[in-house]
Symmetry: C2
């Protein structure tokens, strides 16, 4: 976990603001959920490995005592060894967990507040999630997820909308060339079955297939053997899954669909999966998507277990970094928290990676974000504080950030040096006395004053340029011109 | 803890946006810190009661086992009773805690990153904090704090800036009549000593005095006796602390300072405290503060132990609700994390209360925030998807949120009903076919089209008003006029 200091935070906030604007234009509404969920909400959704990475929060006071007591009574772990103690404590001491992603919390919200929500419910959420993972370069135990989901419709229009939305966001951010890979989790399951595996093995199959890019054909054969998966048809499978094509290349796409139909068993559900893909691609082709950007990639798997339909990932074309965003349809997750099964589709965007790319490419910049102007009160009389107060007010009204000098009793020269170090852009001298830049005159003014009545000296710190006895209006103009 | 659904979240985001604008005009920069801190950072800062309210996060895997093992070896709690087990587990199992406020995290950041930060460091942070408190009406275990702090200066200009900033924020939010109460923690300590209490009793003294409003003079006498505080001079103290006055009433203010000087011991530090207050009030009076808004209230205490200088709280004038914001100077907190002692002042704003007041008074509104327009694709041909895609693009370009109809195969009448239920404002019919509102014509268009070439039918759902075969440009104008 890490602090995000102002210089790093500014570009991140800039990206978030742009994203939110696009989310809202697509009709998505913001949602906030608690950082902690009951532990049983979180466990069993991310696979065994994921479960281990959930941060667990301990019960408090009497409740902790009662739980440990229960255990002590029923299982007498107290006389037992340290392994049992650890197991008992791990099981009985925590009741809450920090969220591992935003999708499970959304599913809980839809199940819990369903009747209060519009149908379908379109929400975005930008919030930290926590994983007790071994930290790696660029990956932290606390990181921000940006999620967009539509719950309550099985229409492929929703899947197309999510993909189009992400393309719009990426274009809006001026992200360098990227492409969208799309596949269908159902078709992957069909491939697994066609290879001779039992249905319950399909997640293992996806996990192994997912590594093809990294470990190659031989690696995948090893991996599959280890997991007791059939490997006979692998070379045929390899050939099929290497046939990527852009979805606007209609001939290639048809050929690919045909190969699929030949390889898998064309039962009712597989027919539906193929139809869904055809419909999704038809929609995407229609919705003014730039050419050659969306690709059907039959080898794309996606890590999480809960996907049931189309899945997608977005990559930089040069693959200089891992996926920038990804998502898919998960029609069964909400049903785990509710009597009703509610179809849903959503996607998640990796904010840190995107900000890194935009910074690297100079598309956005880290900015010094200190104050624009420090007003130095020369006289230090009651009158002159009031004079400074009015100047500060006018500057703020003009959208210029400013402050009164803190070190009132320090030499003016030293105050200027300190301001320069803080990267303050301008110093305004106000009052009626002698300063480093000359005499500051002050006009009399009434309570109903106009900025034109306020006279000041001003110094630009970057080049030492200065203007003497100018009106505040001229001053403001100069500051704005200098930006 | 609770979910914040879109309808409740919108006004909160609106308030946050306004606040941030003012924070930035005052030259404050955003900071983000992790939700979890090491437990030793958090404990010992909030008093015993506070410590109990910190959420504790368990160690993971081997580390947990090792810690429980250490305990088992050295203290053999395994053979012991459940109280000892609970104590051991509470001590050894957690290593992290969820932050209890934002001030301690700021102090840690300044101590840790000091050399990378501008001096003074002015930051704001708007983020959730967690307290394992008994939930009450309007108070939750997870709530948002909005903090503004200046670390690295002991100048009273900083204290005045924070107070002025909060007044500006409240004015900007159009909050109903409010007032700011100011006191000095050092003066309270001087009062405690003057009553005959030992210096280490001054926090107890403050806590008891803090309740005067609620439990009256007799209650305070009881409370002080219970805490072994001297009560002889209480009636004199009562008289003194009841003398509130606005800081622009110079005669009353002088009288009050005189009473103070008579009651307390005028040693060096107490002299300084009085001078600080005089300087602070002089600054506040000068900085264009509206009259009759800041009050010197010698009974104001503030709960937290870490304050050392001026403290303040902001209340609605009618006292219909508890304090809306509060803060003060804490010159010794950062030194607890660093070899260096660094003076600091800051304040915190209660977002939920403020949003509640603004909503109650109708100053802000909860808004339906669904999409503005649903575009219904009549033809469902490839051509017509493309036509819809262009319409959607133009609507978004005009800042109008929109979506393509999800239920493509449902009767149009039913789709309209469902859209109405979702509070969608307009339906646009696109394509080339018969709809509930008549025939939709479509012009031929090239890829380089102008919105003027797109013809649609449109229906306003709130009153059923409709326009037929109008251009998209006219359409957009009508939608914007209807807002």
């Amino acid at each position: 976990m890490r602090d995000c200091l102002p210089e790093q935070l500014q570009p991140r906030l800039e990206v978030i603001e742009k994203m939110c604007r696009v989310f809202q234009l697509y009709g998505f509404q913001p949602l906030e959920t608690p950082a902690m969920e009951r532990l049983e909400i979180l466990t069993g959704k991310y696979g065994d490995e994921g479960d281990k990475l959930i941060y667990r929060v301990m019960k408090r006071g009497e409740e902790l005592k009662r739980s440990l007591g229960d255990i002590a009574d029923s299982c007498s772990p107290l006389g037992d060894d340290i392994n049992s103690l650890t197991k008992f404590v791990s099981k009985m001491a925590p009741d809450l967990g920090l969220r591992y992603d935003l999708t499970v919390s959304l599913a809980r919200v839809v199940a819990q507040h369903g009747n209060k929500l519009p149908k379908p419910f379109k929400r975005y959420q930008i919030a930290p999630v926590w994983r007790a993972d071994r930290p790696q370069r660029g990956r932290y135990r606390e990181f921000i997820q940006c999620d967009v989901d539509i719950a309550g419709t099985d229409s492929m229009v929703a899947d197309a909308e999510i993909i189009t939305l992400f393309i719009d966001v990426f274009n809006d951010l001026k992200l360098p060339a990227f492409e969208v890979l799309v596949n269908h989790r159902g078709l992957l399951k069909a491939l697994s079955t066609a290879c001779g595996n039992l249905p319950e093995k399909s997640n293992d199959f996806c996990t192994a297939l997912d590594k093809m890019d990294k470990i190659g054909m031989d690696g995948v054969v090893d991996e599959m053997s280890k997991r007791n998966l059939q490997t006979e048809k692998l070379s045929q499978l390899w050939e099929l899954t290497q046939q990527r094509c852009y979805i606007n290349q209609s001939e290639e796409l048809n050929a690919l669909f045909n190969s699929f139909s030949e390889f898998i068993d064309l039962d009712e559900s597989n027919e539906l999966f193929l139809k869904q893909m055809e419909e999704l691609f038809r929609l995407l082709n229609g919705l003014s998507i730039p050419r050659d950007i969306v690709m059907f990639d039959p080898s794309l798997a996606r890590g999480l277990d809960y996907y049931t339909g189309p899945v997608f990932e977005i990559f930089c074309r040069d693959r200089s970094i891992g996926s920038l965003a990804g998502g898919g349809r998960y029609d069964e997750l909400i049903g785990m928290f509710s009597k009703q099964s509610i179809p849903a589709v959503g996607a998640s965007l990796g904010l840190d990676r995107i900000v890194d790319i935009l910074l690297e490419q100079g598309i956005i910049e880290t900015k010094k974000t200190t104050v624009d102007v420090m007003v130095i009160d020369i006289d230090k009389s009651n009158d002159s504080i009031e004079y400074c107060g009015m100047i500060l007010k006018e500057l703020k009204k003009a959208g210029i950030s400013c402050e009164l000098n803190y070190d009132r009793d320090r030499q003016v020269g030293k105050q200027i040096k300190a301001a320069d170090k803080r990267k303050i852009s301008f110093i305004i001298f106000a009052g009626e006395g002698e300063t480093a830049t000359g005499i500051v005159r002050k006009r009399h003014f009434s309570k109903k004053f106009e900025p034109i009545d306020l006279y000041v000296n001003i110094k630009r710190l970057i080049d030492g340029d200065e203007r003497k006895n100018i009106t505040l209006s001229d001053c403001i103009r100069w500051i704005k011109e200098s930006r």
